[in-house]
Amino acid sequence: MTGTTTETGATTDTRLEPATPVLEITDLKVVFPGSGRNPDITAVRGVSYRVHRGEVLGIVGESGSGKSVSSLAAMGLLPEYAKVSGSIRLHGEELLGLNDRAMSAKRGSAISMVFQDPLSGLTPVYTVGDQIAEAVRVHNPRISKAQAANRAVELLDLVGIPDPRQRYRAFPHEFSGGMRQRVMIAIAIANDPDVIICDEPTTALDVTIQAQILDVLKTARQETGAAIVMITHDLGVVAGFVDRVQVMYAGRLVEAGGVDDVYYRTRMPYTMGLLGSVPRLDEEEETALIPIRGTPPSLDALPPGCPFAPRCPLAVAACSESEPGLDPVGAEGHSAACIRSGEIEENAWTARDVYPVPKIPAERTAQGPREDRETVLAVEGLVKYHPLMKGAVFKRRVGTVYAVDGITFDIREGETLGLVGESGCGKSTTLMEILSLRAPQSGRVVVFGKEAGAVTAKERFKIRRDVQVVFQDPMSSLDPRMSVFEIIAEPLRTHGHPKALLRTRVNELLSLVGLEPAHAARYPQEFSGGQRQRIGIARALALEPRLLVLDEPVSALDVSIQAGVINLLDELKARLGLSYLFVAHDLSVVRHIADRVAVMYLGRIVEIGDVESIYQRPAHPYTQALLSAIPVPDPEKERARSHIVLRGDLPNPAAPPSGCGFRTRCQKFAVLDEAERTLCRDAHPELWSIGAGPADQAAACHYAQEREPW
């Protein structure tokens, strides 16, 4: 599939030869002047690139690398106070310095953009159809309203919205995130643009929806023949989608070239680090992730020399003298900004050679079969229904949201269970039900042999010592008015830790999570996301719990930082003999850290088993689709893969389909004959053991069949 896209790219290129690039950016600089005494922030420092018709260019970088700012500059959408210099040419015509009126004539017609967050990207008070029609009419004022509406319906159809004529009148809040992103794409392609800039178009979406949106973007490119600039932090998304890729760091390009060159013949240590820190689904053997130490430099006071030097394992004295230019290396079109790129080429170094690979100590409790180990947490038939109420004074029940609909699992000592599923599948509700330590609506939650709900308040308080939690967003889960010492000491104080020993314990915890005792006096806002998450982990570990509940602990972090936190969790588990309940939507991360995995869909577990079996031989069609939808950061593999793309969105949990909840989107259901389908419609499938003998794998599908995902 990607093979065909590269072909179309090549043919359009030859047809237009010798072509002026559609978009050419030269030496772009963007400075945000600091207000008051704050220093100026240079977000983009001399970026140059060009895109030709039909070409797909990927721009990769972590947050704050300037990738979004440079594209907003091309659209003329930066705030007025931003100082932009350099040159931005569209078909050879200079855009920089055009006034708003002239620029708005280009925006949406010749150059258009798809933004990251589709939930807030559409005006809430206009119908989606009107918003698309507006894009058509603003550039073609002579088109009648009816014609514009017809064109909007066509576009809705093109981006795959079912019943486009009815859906024209829907408001944004009636659409799911994936559907809103389709609408955003429809707006972007409404006037056959020559360049479409996609700024993290799938980051806010679930992985099965991401696969759908990437397909829509491919269709959009075929329809319009436009060049696409794909901005992302996800090396997997770029691998199979783009022709060329460039890596940004601290406002500059540090490596650029053909996608194969950059991925397989990396010449810049930062790119190596990025590739090494991504948890991989496609590798047979689980190895420690390679984090990049430190954090990106602040853009108001860059050190002289290479901005990556302070984090670079290859840095030598010369690196901090002057900033290296983006010079050609290796194959044609490949360039890197590193004075040691020649050496890297000669020795054919990879991330594993350059970066110190962390050692994960062997697990203490890994020995012994699972059945013999103590059960830390047992959940049996857990149910959580939310009533849907209507009316202001006299409320009446009009329905039920089946948030968690009877799930069963257990966690043994020293084990990590990964609970995965897309947003809205009930994984967070499950977590909150367990943490509440109250009697569930139905079913049982047994923590360390004590049934929650049957214990007194005093006992519950005691159990809390043993069950601690780490939250998703390290920015909001720490009280900004408390110092790090206060944050970590709070659980200790609550549980009557001797006052004299507080300081020692807090220092001990800080060093345990890789921070310095001197950090205790500071406040959360002085730390980066990764460091804050470490503080959150230290707080959770303060009471020496035996079970740690982790709610998406790394999903808010950049990959290079994420790797460090995952390694830390791995290490802590081995050293302290912890058990984890690890909730995540990212299957690659879960594969890396978990021993067993439970896949949830619509409030039920559809497949559960050991990591090996689930990832190598998934049996439930949903698990297969999930794994298939994840792009791997390996261009050749990614191009050769065929993704299973699920249709539609998650059904409304207040009105789940009869029988099997997944059948409405199931790729297997689609190929069954009518007689076989009856079973899926009528009977809800229970979990049943898959595989030969005592294999630890069960799937809730009438027609479960193991399948290689790769």
Partner: protein, 328 residues
Amino acid sequence: MGKFLVRRFISYLVLIFLASSFAYLLAAATLSPRTNFDQLQPRPSQEAIEKELDKLNLNDNTPIAQRYGTWVRDLVLHGDFGQTIDDQSVNEAVARKAGVTLRLIIVGTGLGCSVGVAIGAYSAVKQYRGFDKAATAAAFFVLAVPTVVIAVSMREAARWFNDVTGVRFFEYGGEYTAGLDAGFWGTLADRLQHGILPTLTLALALFAAFSRYQRNMMLDVLGSDFVRTAMAKGLTRRAALLKHALRTALIPTITYFTFTFGILLAGTTFTEKIYGWHGMGAWVVDSITQNDVNAVAAVTFFMAVCVMAASFLSDILYAWLDPRVRVS
């Protein structure tokens, strides 16, 4: 949607009835119309006083529940608010005075809100620039000064202006010149001359509150993604701000409108008193001093109707601006 508005309408009727009832009961329990008759020179006979009080349904010897019952019965069955303490029809007085107040409120509200919203939205766009700073200073100044002071200061300023120019440009006594015969345009000009100061007094207070509120609402949506999307489509910044940002930012202001309306009515009282307009606001002050229970209840009824009408209007505006409430 229609059903929603009908339900709202019914609940408004109930609220209006409750508000007037409370006002009646409070007035009947605390005011003492008897003293008005006791202090007459020469003092009428005790019998005459009792008879007059009974006739007006103001006799404090009758149990309050019974007086209230009579009042409700007349109101519900005949739409009659009873008699004033001077034995005039309250209904007729209301009919005469309501128009005066309504003219004042409607023009003042329309002017104050629209100018306030426009200035607030524009200051948000020009945040921290000269215009924003000037508008902020003006708004806070007006907010800090009570309506009474504004009204009196404006009257004095107008007097000074008239003296200096030697032209009687501003009028500040009454609603119109009595007995003027100047044709349609002349009458209109006369009314404008009289109306400009009281209307401005009311509008200023509203402008101050609304410009601050609208500025904040607008700032919230200025940086939002959908405004950026609108610009990315090809709308100019101005068009994107007007069509997408302002429209969305107006929604919370509509709710705010309902809340401020009560305060506005209180402001009307002062304004009418100071500029010598014979409207409902001035009347309620007079009625309280004259122990006129029925008039107080009638004015409260009128005010409640105004507040509910404003609330009903904002419901409709809300539904018009935010189609989401129409759908769900």
